[in-house]
């Protein structure tokens, strides 16, 4: 039984690996760098929506950093008492979860009009979320080119079948944090993983090695300070929140694609838009409008609600809440443990452009391409 389980695990990892046979099969099947469906939005309106402004992101970043500083200060002030706990919980969520959405938006270059502010936030958020800014820029570029194409997309968070133990452990960073340090050591020694080598161009790699050495030096200094002070406080402030605060990162993140179609060429088949309250939209920087973001990644987060209004006639209705999304995600992911051809396919409203499904393999079931294309 155990042997059978490890065979499933190996087969799954081979399928999703960027260096496995599915990569070449996806290229041969026309799934790599393919044309995707996008709703028609008049050019004039699109220009308005794409236009950048510094004001919203500077305002939101000041609030965000201010809250991080406030909760850190209160946590330090009450250090050694139970009163510190809620303040560090809030600090941990802001540091270990919401840095993800700041990393994401600034990585796209859409947060600010002024480029250096955008890139400054990108470097800071990358450090906080423990992602190398160069490898993850290229990884996310590939994610947008080949969204949920098996063997091509390095950011498929929930595979078929899902790695449930890993997903649950990551709610407290138990996999991602050790992995991040393993990668930092690997990068610091001048090496990439085989998957990273598939999408990071050779001319960019020196940046990866340099950043890893700087990051490791910061963490070494933090640990040295903790030892010197005989206190956990430095670690609780720097790096630690990625362990005790990533819950929201995954709560939001799994709503994006989990349980939906793979190997499709239409974001409406593999991506969700979920309505969220004002607080969650602030914390998540409007990435709940995820179908819209994938269709038009140049639209800054503060215009996505307007973009939603422009394209919603082509989309299945947005999920009314995070809860509503999870009522679909959890059963779908559990069903995929046994039935890996199952996926969530939503009904489009009357009058919507039909799904872009140029070939039978684009129906979302994601049959292994190496078999499907040979048949």
């Amino acid at each position: 039984m155990k042997k059978e389980g490890s065979a499933v695990s190996k087969e799954r990892l081979d399928r999703y690996s960027l260096t496995g046979p599915e990569n070449q099969a996806a290229v041969e099947a026309g799934l790599a760098g393919a044309d995707w469906f996008r709703s028609a939005v008049p050019r004039k309106r699109m220009k308005e929506l794409m236009r950048r402004s510094d004001y919203p992101a500077i305002r939101d970043t000041i609030i965000w950093l201010g809250l991080i500083g406030l909760f850190a200060g209160l946590g330090i002030a009450f250090w050694g008492t139970w009163w510190a706990l809620p303040f560090f919980l809030a600090y941990g969520l802001l540091y270990g979860s919401t840095s993800d959405s700041r990393w994401h938006e600034s990585g796209h270059g859409t947060a600010f009009k002024t480029r250096w502010i955008d890139q400054g936030l990108y470097q800071l958020a990358s450090f906080m979320i423990m992602r190398d800014p160069t490898t993850w820029r290229w990884s996310h570029t590939r994610h947008h080119t080949d969204t949920l194409v098996v063997g091509r997309d390095p950011e498929i968070a929930v595979m078929r079948p899902a790695r449930l133990a890993r997903l649950l452990a990551n709610l407290v960073g138990l996999v991602d944090v050790p992995l991040a340090f393993w990668l930092m050591f690997r990068h610091a020694s001048g090496r990439l993983t085989a998957d990273e080598a598939d999408y990071v161009p050779p001319t960019e790699r020196h940046k990866v090695y340099r950043t890893a050495r700087i990051d490791l030096a910061i963490y070494a200094a933090t640990i040295a300070l903790a030892i010197g002070l005989r206190s956990w406080l430095p670690v609780v402030l720097i790096g630690g929140p990625r362990l005790y605060g990533p819950f929201l990162l995954y709560l939001y993140g799994f709503t994006q694609h989990a349980g939906m179609g793979e190997n499709v060429l239409d974001y409406r088949l593999n991506t969700r838009t979920v309505k969220m309250c004002r607080l969650n939209r602030f914390l998540y920087w409007n990435m709940n409008y995820h179908v819209e973001h994938h269709m038009f990644p140049m639209v800054p987060y503060y215009r996505l609600a307007e973009l939603h209004e422009e394209v919603k006639h082509d989309l299945a209705p947005a999920y009314p809440s995070i809860w509503a999304a999870y009522k679909e995600i959890i059963p779908a992911v559990l069903r995929q443990l046994k039935d890996q051809e199952y996926y969530v396919r939503r009904e489009l409203p009357p009058g919507a452009a039909p799904y872009n499904q140029p070939a039978p393999i684009n129906d979302g079931r994601a049959l292994p391409l190496t078999v499907a294309t040979a048949a």
Partner: protein, 104 residues
């Protein structure tokens, strides 16, 4: 050798904007800068085959609509990841309200 082709009317392009132009099966992008100068580049981003005419013009910069790679469209220079290769530029002239590009 120069080969001047009429690409569009000057008014076809809004200030600080870009439009597509196709000639002989090849795609070009025609730009009008905020100070009313005209420029032309290859139609596709050098990173992946995405049409630049769907992108955003900001001053002298065109941003690709797919991955937000940026070029200076007056020189063709790539301005950083994910675009690492410059985009080809073409000579442009405006005569009697028509924009010509040299595709030679």
């Amino acid at each position: 050798m120069a080969e001047w082709i009429a690409a569009c009317q000057a008014d076809d392009v809004d200030p600080e904007d870009v439009i597509p132009f196709t000639h002989d099966g090849k795609d070009y992008a025609i730009y009008r800068s905020p100070d009313d100068a005209y420029y032309a580049t290859d139609g596709h981003c050098t990173h992946e085959k995405t049409l630049l005419c769907d992108g955003l013009v900001m001053g002298a910069v065109i941003e690709c609509p797919k991955h937000n790679g940026r070029f200076n469209y007056t020189s063709g220079k790539a301005l950083g990841a994910p675009v690492l290769e410059d985009v080809r530029t073409y000579q442009v002239k405006v005569a009697d309200g028509t924009v010509f590009i040299d595709v030679g």
